[in-house]
């Protein structure tokens, strides 16, 4: 097992008395796509800036590619490609010129530069617009150019801050597919921050949920939903043709089922909360007892639910001292 490529230890950042990032510990392994998920103002961007050495942490350590980002930002910046959330370009220069400029700043030798820039533009699908002024670029094209900007230095790690912000759904899908493909092909480590759950859900191997400067939970989707809803267990809701006249009528039928933890009845819908997944058995039982089933629904928790739950608890915690 190799050392994690991004290592944050007890990272804390204070703006005045306000805690932007609070004692953050996080490891991201090589080749992984990690999603940093949190509402606006959760400290995502601050964390990213500290990883790049653009902001000094008040306390703690940010280590990227084996370098201390605060002490040695140059080495880190050489290996890390960063796309800021509102990426801007020099409006009076064309896409190609913008890219060449960044290439030169990264010390790419002049003789291979043109070819490399053209290749990068090809990767992100901007070859047709290479000589257009960036002032005329749409948001989606700017994001693509931003990605090209990141890729031209052939980084080991890509950090994308809100990469999906302001692009239309089709554009988002393409963009994320591109990121995923690049990560898989070149073994890049990707860290992307977003407050958009679906986007993160689509591409990320692992997700960290970040609220009020604290990392509330971290892991892949299953692990996260396990952590959150483990207590709640599996929920199956079954809709019947007719409303149940007496909820009590079910009681003798269900007696002796140890897996069922809770049953709630709402008109013609019954919701079972169980410690195991027993949906087929439940259906059979109801059918045998003469109920007509119109719909069976097994609840799967998506990131949205996870997020919602964490977000709520985060707000409560933050709100209580006030």
């Amino acid at each position: 097992m190799k050392d994690p490529i991004i290592q944050l230890k007890g990272l804390t950042k204070l703006y005045g008395s306000q805690k932007a990032v609070d004692n953050l510990n996080l490891n991201v392994d090589q080749g992984e796509i990690f999603g940093l998920l949190g509402p606006n103002g959760a400290g995502k961007t601050t964390t990213i800036l500290m990883m790049l050495g653009l902001t000094e942490p008040t306390k703690g350590l940010a280590q990227v590619c084996g370098y201390n980002a605060t002490r040695n930002p140059m080495e880190v910046k050489r290996k890390v490609g960063y796309m800021p959330d509102s990426v801007g370009f020099y409006d009076n220069m064309s896409a190609m010129e913008n890219l060449l400029y960044i290439g030169r700043l990264n010390g790419i030798p002049e003789d291979g530069l043109q070819a490399r820039a053209a290749e990068t533009l090809e990767t992100v699908g901007l070859t047709a617009d290479r000589d257009k002024k960036t002032a005329a670029f749409s948001r989606g094209m700017k994001q693509r150019l931003g990605l090209a900007d990141v890729l031209i230095k052939q980084p080991e790690v890509i950090i994308l801050d809100e990469p999906t912000l302001g692009i239309d759904p089709a554009g988002v899908k393409d963009f994320l597919a591109l990121i995923k493909q690049l990560s898989r092909q070149q073994g890049l480590t990707v860290l992307l921050s977003s407050h958009h759950l679906h986007h993160v859900q689509q591409v990320c191997d692992r997700v960290g949920i970040f609220v009020e400067g604290r990392l509330l939970a971290e892991g892949n989707m299953e692990k996260l939903s396990g952590q959150l809803f483990g207590a709640a267990g599996y929920v199956t809701s079954i809709a019947l043709e007719e409303p149940i006249a007496h909820p009590r009528a079910l009681e003798p039928v269900l007696k002796g089922w140890e897996d069922i933890e809770q049953v709630s009845v709402q008109e013609n819908e019954i919701e079972f909360t169980c410690s195991r997944n027993i949906t087929p058995a439940l259906v059979r039982l109801l059918v045998e007892n003469g109920y007509n089933i119109t719909r069976v629904n097994q609840k799967n928790y998506g990131l949205e639910d996870i997020y919602q739950k964490y977000f709520e608890s985060g707000i409560q915690k933050a709100g209580s001292p006030k």
Partner: protein
């Protein structure tokens, strides 16, 4: 980086306009001085009459001010226009974070802004001066004294230092203020204050403090005069006009008032270049010092500045 900044400057409209303005004044003042050059050179009473090329720059028939006075107004404008949006434009268009995420030192960004503008300005003034010398040679066929060349080069250096001062001031303002318009207006405000109001204010204040000159001995009058002059010299444009006038008019031998005793033994002849240079050395170093001070302040602010808003 410097290369890109220079390209930016050259391509921008405001730069084209200012260059046009400066070239226009240059041509106008040169034209006026050319038409009066005969009288100026023929004036044997003037100890400077042998310096044809210096005369080209300073002679006028009072319809318009000579070139170096013009420059004391225009050079600040040039400096301000090149620097007022150096940092905040990058910040507003979102290119600053992108730039800083590249493996370049933060101070290089600031230095590139400063140096590129200086390179552009220096080459502009050098071109103008060389054009003037060449044109003068062609038109009059008079041989140039080495001293004249040195003086003109000195004039160039002082002018560039003067522009550099305003440039660093406006870059500082561009770091302090987030809006380009605010920083431009502040810079222009400072410039107006120094060129127009500063003298008025100083005169007003001094007059209320100063005892009646009739009651004072000559020495005291001179002392007060010196004080007033020194206060006026806080204004960078005063420093500049002092320095440039001395360099371009070799017969200027003092920048303050002289007593009769001091004047008595003096032969009305031009000073050698070295003496003129010695005379304006405080002015030049004052200009350079204020420029460096401004730049250091800019540097400090920029290095301490958080990347995000």
């Amino acid at each position: 980086m410097v290369r890109k900044e220079i390209t930016d400057h050259i391509r921008s409209w405001r730069f084209a306009i200012l260059i046009g303005l400066i070239i226009l004044t240059f041509v106008a003042s040169l034209y006026v001085s050319l038409s009066n050059i005969k009288a100026a050179i023929g004036n044997v009473n003037d100890p400077d009459h042998t310096f044809l090329y210096l005369k080209l720059l300073t002679t006028t028939d009072n319809s318009i001010p000579p070139f170096h006075i013009f420059l004391s107004f225009l050079a600040p404008l040039l400096g301000i226009s090149m620097g007022f949006d150096a940092i905040n434009a990058e910040q507003n268009s979102g290119t600053q974070t992108r730039l800083m995420a590249q493996p370049v030192y933060r101070d290089n960004i600031l230095l590139a802004k400063f140096i590129s503008a200086l390179v552009v300005v220096s080459s502009l003034f050098a071109t103008l001066a060389l054009l003037m010398i060449g044109g003068g040679l062609l038109l009059t066929g008079v041989r140039m004294e080495p001293q004249e060349l040195l003086r003109i080069l000195g004039f160039l250096v002082v002018t560039i230092a003067y522009v550099a001062f305003w440039l660093s001031l406006s870059i500082t303002l561009s770091i302090v203020f987030r809006q380009a318009a605010t920083s431009a207006l502040t810079a222009i405000g400072i410039w107006l204050f120094f060129t127009i109001f500063y003298q008025l204010v100083v005169n007003l204040v001094i007059r209320s403090f100063l005892p009646d000159p009739a009651m004072l001995t000559q020495e005291e009058v001179i002392r007060y005069n010196n004080i007033i002059l020194n206060i006026l010299r806080i204004a960078p444009n005063h420093l500049y006009t002092d320095a440039v006038a001395t360099l371009l008019m070799p017969s200027v031998r003092s920048l303050g008032p002289l007593t009769m005793e001091q004047m008595a033994g003096a032969v009305p002849s031009p000073l050698p270049f070295k003496e003129s240079l010695m005379l304006v050395w405080p002015q030049v170093s004052g200009l350079l010092a204020s420029m460096t001070g401004c730049f250091a302040l800019a540097y400090y602010l920029f290095m301490r500045r958080e990347v995000r808003s």
